[in-house]
C-alpha cells in the first residue's frame, strides 16, 4: 500500500494528513505552530506517521506536498502548492457539490470559487490586515477572559446585536474593552463581533464570485457563532463538511500528492 502526505504549515496551527492509495484518510493531526516552520512541519508529520503502523518516517510516503504560509519550509516535501489551491482540492474531495469556500485562517480570509473538478475558478483575499482572522478571535477571547471555544458560542445566546465599528484587531479590542466597561451584555458584544467578521467574509465570498453551495474552512470554521452570522448575512445555509474543516488545506495537499504520486483522483 502506498501512502501520500500533505502538510499545511499555517501561521497559528500546523496540520498534516496522510492518505492511502484509495484516498482514505488514515492519519491526521492539528497542532499549534512553532516559530520555526520547519520544526512545525516535522512535528506534525511525525505525529501523523506514528498513527500508521506501516510508516516510520516521511521517506516511507510516496509523495508529500507542503502548503500554507510555511510551504517553502517543509523539508521533506517534494513540492509546494498554494493554500488556495489546496483548500479548493481538500473541500472538493470531501464534498464535490461545494462551489465556493470561505477560508478563515490564522492570519487571513480568503474567498475561493471552486470549479467542478476541484481547481480554483477565482479567489479573493484580504489585504495584510488580521481583522476577522484567527488572531483577531484570539484577541477578542482574551478581552472577555474566555477560551476561544467559550467565546465562539457566546453570541448564540444574544437577543440583540451591539455593532462593533472597528475592524482593526487593536482598535476592536479597545472598543470591546470599553463596551464591557460600560456594562453591556457580553453575548451582545460578541454577536456584534461575529456580525462584523461575517460581513467581511461576505465581501470576500462575493469578490470571488461565490453564489451558492458555500462552505467554511480553516480553524475559524469551527466557530459556531461566526457560522450563524455568516449564514445570516449570506442568507443561505453553509454546507457542513464531514471532515474537520481545519484539515482542508492539508487534505488538499495530500490529494495533490496522491495525484502526483501516481494515483488517480
Amino acid at each position: 500500500m502506498k501512502y501520500f502526505g500533505g502538510c499545511d504549515v499555517g501561521s497559528t496551527y500546523t496540520k498534516a494528513v496522510i492518505l492511502d492509495e484509495n484516498g482514505g484518510i488514515v492519519a491526521s493531526t492539528i497542532m499549534r505552530s512553532k516559530i520555526n516552520a520547519e520544526q512545525s512541519s516535522r512535528l506534525a508529520m511525525s505525529d501523523c506517521i506514528s498513527q500508521v503502523e506501516a510508516l516510520s518516517s516521511p521517506d516511507d510516503l510516496a509523495y508529500i506536498v507542503g502548503t500554507g504560509y510555511g510551504r517553502n519550509r517543509v523539508p521533506f516535501a517534494q513540492e509546494n502548492v498554494s493554500e488556495i489551491s489546496c483548500h479548493a482540492m481538500g473541500v472538493h474531495v470531501t464534498d464535490p457539490t461545494v462551489q465556493a469556500i470561505i477560508d478563515i485562517g490564522g492570519q487571513d480570509i480568503k474567498g475561493i470559487a471552486v470549479a467542478p473538478d476541484g481547481t480554483v475558478k477565482n479567489f479573493a483575499m484580504n489585504d495584510k490586515c488580521a481583522a476577522g482572522t484567527g488572531r483577531f478571535y484570539e484577541a477578542m477571547a482574551r478581552s472577555f477572559e474566555m477560551s476561544l471555544e467559550e467565546f465562539s458560542s457566546l453570541s448564540l445566546k444574544a437577543k440583540n446585536v451591539i455593532p462593533i465599528t472597528a475592524q482593526c484587531t487593536v482598535f476592536a479590542e479597545s472598543e470591546v474593552i470599553a463596551l464591557v466597561g460600560e456594562g453591556k451584555a457580553p453575548e451582545e458584544i460578541a454577536a456584534g463581533i461575529q456580525m462584523a467578521v461575517a460581513k467581511r467574509c461576505f465581501v470576500m465570498a462575493k469578490k470571488a464570485g461565490a453564489i451558492n453551495h458555500i462552505t467554511l474552512s480553516g480553524g475559524c470554521a469551527k466557530n459556531e457563532g461566526l457560522k450563524k452570522a455568516i449564514e445570516k448575512v449570506l442568507k443561505i445555509k453553509v454546507v457542513e463538511l464531514k471532515t474537520d474543516p481545519q484539515l482542508m488545506g492539508a487534505l488538499g495537499a495530500a490529494a495533490f500528492a496522491r495525484r502526483k504520486g501516481g494515483a488517480a483522483l
Binding site: S82, I84, S85, D108, D127
Partner: protein
C-alpha cells in the same frame, strides 16, 4: 542561464537615484532634470547639457513626514518621493518637471516649492508644472505643445541657457530614438518560447535606461543586447506560465522578481510609464516641427487611464489584449498602488473586460510602493499560476 554581464551593475545603479553615472554626468557639468510622469517628455530633458532622471525612492521604509504634509490617503509613491526629497535625496537636481496629471503626485511636487526643497543646494532650482490634456484631439495636442514650450523649453533656456532650437530638438530625438531601439530590441526577446532573459532582467534594463544619463548607459545597453543575441537559455523554459504585468507606476524590480519566483514569466510590462508604452521611436512627419512631433507622439502613444474619451478607454483594453497575443501570455496581472486615483477604477474595469469579453484570465493586485511583507502576495501569485497552469492542462496545451 549564465548571469547577464551587467546585472549586478544595473542593480547597483538602481539602489540610489544619485548613482555613479548620474554623478559622472554632474561632474561633466550637465544638469539633472527630475520627473515622474510619462507626460514630461524624456526626450526634451535630454537636450545638450542636461539629462533626465526618473525620480524613485529605493529602499524607503518610512514616509511619516511626507504623510504629515499630504495625508495618509494619498498613494505611497507620491509620499515616498516627497519624503526622499525632504531627506535631501534629490538635492543634485537642477529642476523638477511636473505635470498636472496625477493629483497626488502633483501635490507632492508642489511641496517641493512650498517647503523650499533643493533650493538650499541650488538656488536656481525650479519646479515647473505642465498641463497635460485629457483627450487626443488636435486642439489638445496644440495645447500640450504650447505647455511644453512655455513650462519646459523656455524655462530651461532662460534659467540654464539650454539650446532649445529646432536643430537641438532634432538631435535629441535622434539620440532618444537610438536608446528606444536598443531597449525595444532587448524587450522583444521576451516573445520567444524559451527566451534568453527574464522579466526581472528586462525590468532592470528598462529602469536603468530611465534613471541614468542616456549617453552613459547606452554603451552598457548595447553590450547587453549583443550578449543576449548569443546568450543560451536553459534547455527547457524555467517558467510555468507567461503573464503580462500591467498597471500604474512600478519601479520595483523586486516585485517582478516575486512574480517570477512563483513561476510566472513577466513577458510584457505595461505600466504608467516604462517600455510599453514608452520606448516607441518619435517620428517627425513632413512639414512638422520637432516639438509638434514630440507633443503628438506623447499624446498618441500614451495609455494613461486619465484619458476618458471612449476610443482611448476601449483602446487601452485592446492594447492589453494585443500585448497578450504578441507575447503569448496565458494571463494578465493588473497591479495598482493603494489610493491611486486613476488605477483604482481602471484595474476593476480592466479585470472585468479582459476576463468576460476577451477570455483572458486576470488577477488584480493592490500594492504598496515598496512591498516588504510579501507572504500574502506570494500566495496570490502562486495560486494564480496554479490556476493558469491547470487551465492550460485542461486545454491540452
Amino acid at each position: 542561464m549564465k548571469d547577464l554581464k551587467h546585472r549586478v551593475l544595473f542593480e547597483h545603479l538602481l539602489s540610489d537615484v544619485k548613482n555613479e553615472l548620474v554623478t559622472q554626468a554632474l561632474d561633466e557639468g550637465k544638469k539633472a532634470l527630475g520627473y515622474s510622469c510619462y507626460f514630461v517628455p524624456e526626450v526634451l530633458m535630454n537636450l545638450d547639457g542636461c539629462f533626465s532622471v526618473r525620480l524613485r525612492a529605493p529602499g524607503i521604509a518610512d514616509t511619516s513626514i511626507a504623510t504629515y504634509y499630504m495625508s495618509e490617503k494619498t498613494c505611497m509613491y507620491s509620499r515616498s518621493i516627497l519624503e526622499r526629497a525632504i531627506e535631501g535625496g534629490y538635492n543634485f537636481c537642477s529642476a523638477l518637471l511636473s505635470t498636472e496629471t496625477c493629483g497626488m503626485m502633483h501635490r507632492a511636487h508642489e511641496h517641493f516649492e512650498m517647503l523650499g526643497l533643493v533650493k538650499d543646494e541650488n538656488e536656481r532650482f525650479f519646479v515647473s508644472h505642465i498641463d497635460a490634456p485629457f483627450v487626443t484631439k488636435d486642439y489638445a495636442v496644440q495645447h500640450y505643445e504650447r505647455q511644453l514650450k512655455k513650462h519646459m523649453l523656455d524655462r530651461l533656456h532662460d534659467v540654464y541657457g539650454v539650446d532649445v532650437s529646432e536643430e537641438a530638438l532634432r538631435r535629441a530625438i535622434e539620440k532618444h530614438n537610438e536608446l528606444c531601439r536598443v531597449v525595444t530590441e532587448i524587450g522583444a526577446f521576451r516573445k520567444q518560447q524559451n527566451p534568453p532573459l527574464t522579466g526581472y532582467e528586462f525590468h532592470l534594463i528598462e529602469l536603468v535606461s530611465e534613471c541614468c544619463p542616456h549617453e552613459l548607459i547606452l554603451p552598457y545597453l548595447k553590450e547587453t543586447l549583443e550578449e543576449l543575441k548569443t546568450r543560451k537559455a536553459d534547455a527547457s523554459p524555467w517558467y510555468r506560465v507567461r503573464v503580462v504585468l500591467a498597471g500604474g507606476e512600478n519601479d520595483d524590480p523586486d516585485f517582478t522578481k516575486l512574480i517570477e519566483d512563483c513561476g510566472a514569466f513577466v513577458v510584457a510590462d505595461r505600466y504608467c510609464f516604462g517600455s510599453l508604452p514608452g520606448r516607441e521611436e518619435i517620428k517627425i512627419r513632413d512639414g512638422e516641427t520637432a516639438l509638434s512631433a514630440i507633443a503628438r507622439h506623447y499624446i498618441e502613444t500614451n495609455e494613461c487611464p486619465r484619458f476618458m474619451n471612449p476610443e482611448k478607454v476601449h483602446g487601452r483594453k485592446q492594447y492589453l489584449k494585443q500585448l497578450a497575443k504578441d507575447y503569448h501570455a496565458d494571463g494578465l496581472i493588473v497591479q495598482q498602488m493603494k489610493f491611486c486615483e486613476y488605477w483604482e477604477y481602471e484595474r476593476m474595469y480592466c479585470q472585468h473586460v479582459m476576463e468576460s469579453e476577451y477570455g483572458l484570465p486576470c488577477m488584480g493586485i493592490e500594492k504598496e510602493y515598496i512591498n516588504t511583507s510579501t507572504g500574502q502576495l506570494r500566495t496570490r501569485f502562486q495560486a494564480f499560476v496554479e490556476a493558469l497552469e491547470m487551465k492550460k492542462l485542461q486545454q491540452g496545451v
